[in-house]
Subunit: 269 residues, 4 copies
Amino acid sequence: MIKESIFRLVEKGSHGRKHNLLFDYSIMTLIVLSLIAMILESMPEVYSEYTFFLDGFNVFSIIIFTVEYCMRLYVSDLTHPSKSRLKSLFRFVFSTYGLIDLFAILPFFLPMLIKIDLRFLRALRLTRFLRVLKLNRYNDSLNLIWMVIKEKKSELAVTGFLSFLILLIASFIMYYIEGDKQPEAFPNILESFWWAIATLTTVGYGDVYPVTGLGKFISGLIAILGIGIVALPTGLISAGFMNKIEKPSLNKVEDKCPHCGHEIDYHMN
Amino acid sequence: MIKESIFRLVEKGSHGRKHNLLFDYSIMTLIVLSLIAMILESMPEVYSEYTFFLDGFNVFSIIIFTVEYCMRLYVSDLTHPSKSRLKSLFRFVFSTYGLIDLFAILPFFLPMLIKIDLRFLRALRLTRFLRVLKLNRYNDSLNLIWMVIKEKKSELAVTGFLSFLILLIASFIMYYIEGDKQPEAFPNILESFWWAIATLTTVGYGDVYPVTGLGKFISGLIAILGIGIVALPTGLISAGFMNKIEKPSLNKVEDKCPHCGHEIDYHMN
Amino acid sequence: MIKESIFRLVEKGSHGRKHNLLFDYSIMTLIVLSLIAMILESMPEVYSEYTFFLDGFNVFSIIIFTVEYCMRLYVSDLTHPSKSRLKSLFRFVFSTYGLIDLFAILPFFLPMLIKIDLRFLRALRLTRFLRVLKLNRYNDSLNLIWMVIKEKKSELAVTGFLSFLILLIASFIMYYIEGDKQPEAFPNILESFWWAIATLTTVGYGDVYPVTGLGKFISGLIAILGIGIVALPTGLISAGFMNKIEKPSLNKVEDKCPHCGHEIDYHMN
Amino acid sequence: MIKESIFRLVEKGSHGRKHNLLFDYSIMTLIVLSLIAMILESMPEVYSEYTFFLDGFNVFSIIIFTVEYCMRLYVSDLTHPSKSRLKSLFRFVFSTYGLIDLFAILPFFLPMLIKIDLRFLRALRLTRFLRVLKLNRYNDSLNLIWMVIKEKKSELAVTGFLSFLILLIASFIMYYIEGDKQPEAFPNILESFWWAIATLTTVGYGDVYPVTGLGKFISGLIAILGIGIVALPTGLISAGFMNKIEKPSLNKVEDKCPHCGHEIDYHMN
């Protein structure tokens, strides 16, 4: 059957069957090439010389991605089995990878339907790059990282909130201190916030910096707090990874009561 | 009783009873809105156009916060039970959240009593933002972070002291090396200290940097020590989080064999 | 026999026999001296004055390194025993340290054979510095670090990939936002990528930075994500080191009671 | 006896006996004050006005520190008991705190003996600040940090060596790439090294940065490696702290064989 062939082609590529891997790698290559094309398009001198080639490749890649998307729509009842055909379709379209695939072709078709500024939308096409993560090899690692972040999400949120508060208070204070001396660098609290972020994250571009003694004192304080803002999430994530790595070893513990010899189901951690 | 209703309203909002959550969320919304108003006030073009609206909102929010504060004062004998009414009042006023609530309204009332420069004081109003932490969801995370920092406080203090010493020595040396070559960048040791902080925290604004060979050598050394200054607290906090996470799971281990009832001495970390 | 003496000289130097250590330390000294010579050569005023001495030392060190390399080639059947003489030779030449030694002399002999731009090639000579790691003392530490990195390589690869994706998306967005306002700072996506790296790694040279409000917002976001990009690999490596350090100690646990000889099932992490 | 009183005064101050604490705190206060005096001396406008006061205080503090040093010399046979009086003296003079105390007064007396440039020497006086660490409270924390660093010293040395190699190779490559384009920024390899350190440590002053495409690529690579250079020592130190914290809890394990009831001395980790 054609449907089953398509299903195997688009879904099973990276899962062992070697004659289908070609499809996966072709799509990956096309993704990388279309990315390079996007970068080249942004260079006026390159684009003016190779307009025909770059535009042609753009149309070509969109056609391929659209055909692939339609194929996935067609076999959605196999990849996302549901009670009704329509529900399967919906489940695929709104699945993570369904949305990724949609975003990759949308910026091409949308201006045909509605009048819109494309430029930001085109960056959406980059999300297609995320499909590399679908490759089997990286699934476990991505899951591990994701689980650790999820497990610590409330602690990370509190750290983020405290950082935000530090940024806010520093912006207010800095605006009141430096606003008069450097009206072009600290014209209002929003601009002051820009300085605060550049300082707390220790980026320090050097476009905005305090000149008064008090301003330098506050700035130094924020920079030192920035070290803590790095230390807290790092410590949390370290502990999270440790915890995740230790668990499997615990499950392997063979538990027998030394008195009667029965097995015991200790579920630790 | 009115008192009990007020008590439930101001204190139990975020603890399960759903019809009181509205109060909590209204206050939170008002806090966020008054924050945005403060940012908008700092922009001359916005403030000159919307003076009436912004000033009006300011008065409105202060009234609400004042009413809320009075309500909390009124029920302080319930929230902070003590031997006498006055002691309850005192215990509330000088509690963490009591002070936070006071700081939020003080910058409005203080200039009526004494002549004072308001600008720094107004930043105090931001502390009200800390009340978000009162939300039940984040209590445990905040406590965990706080406990870890408290547990490691002497090690962190030593790290901080060593950093301070490195900063100090570097400032002195740098002043003696670069002071003659760049009298405007390193005019005295305090200004030299500003350079040292920007280097050790790896912010590196670029307003002050060494130009002599020896100065660059010292600067490089400080920047490398900066990595250690990040590594030490991060390592301490990582170890602290690990320790905290492991402890509770140990208490849950059942040390009796479910088959024969004998105790088993499993000694897990 | 001469062969065995040479073998002991070039291979066993740092492994206990003290009268051969002299050879090892002489080579190390020569490596450091040739490194200093390379730095001095790069200074026009120094080179013009000491041309004869620096060129002479260069020829001298290359001769020594070439003689040493030939000696190692000669004893390759002892250091890399194989079925045939030729195979031993090949195994040595393409071993890590064989390649390091080759790279150290190649930039001198290559221009005699083919016409080539030497400058980049000469940096290859620096790899000889890697031989310091051959010193016994650091072998275990290097192996430990290497094992931890290798163990976490797929997680680190995923982190690297996600960082690359963030960099890419940020470059695209920034080019679309700031490209018109600052055509010299963000002329195309490649230059935008340069800004993105400087921001995500928190280097922040200050040669390129956003000036629009939206650009600053994106820039702040990237800088904050930069903290996560530091936290993830640090957390992974911390957990890796913990794991490596704990394992050996576990193997040492004696699981027999010294009094009655019964086995005890102590299950420690 | 006078000797014993002096001994109690200078050595036992911070160890419990309350009537001697005054001496310790006086010395601490004097250290802090002399530090502030040094900073004030560096400001020409302050020094010219308060010359008499600052110079006077300088002489006063040196006298006190000298008297204290002589007292410590006097009781050195009690604090550093040895076979002979002279050996005790030597042991004290060359002990850590003996040297610290000597450095604090040396910059004052040295120019009387030999003609010397004082400026760098005066920074030595800052080492006296290290005596704060002698306060009992911080001893354990300092020891813990010191032990962890010492335990990981060979791994940290390897990390440092690899960083140095990366810096070196980057400096060479960058000099060959950017040397022609920016002869004032990359005039030789030493200056190139300055750029490399500012990039690897993510300080990024912005005084030196690449302008060519290849140079930016190398720079980005170094900045990304900089994240690893932070991650490695942090991971090592985290693991070290974990290890140190876990040990005591292991010693508390009550070990009894479940078969015969005898205690077992398991020394884990």
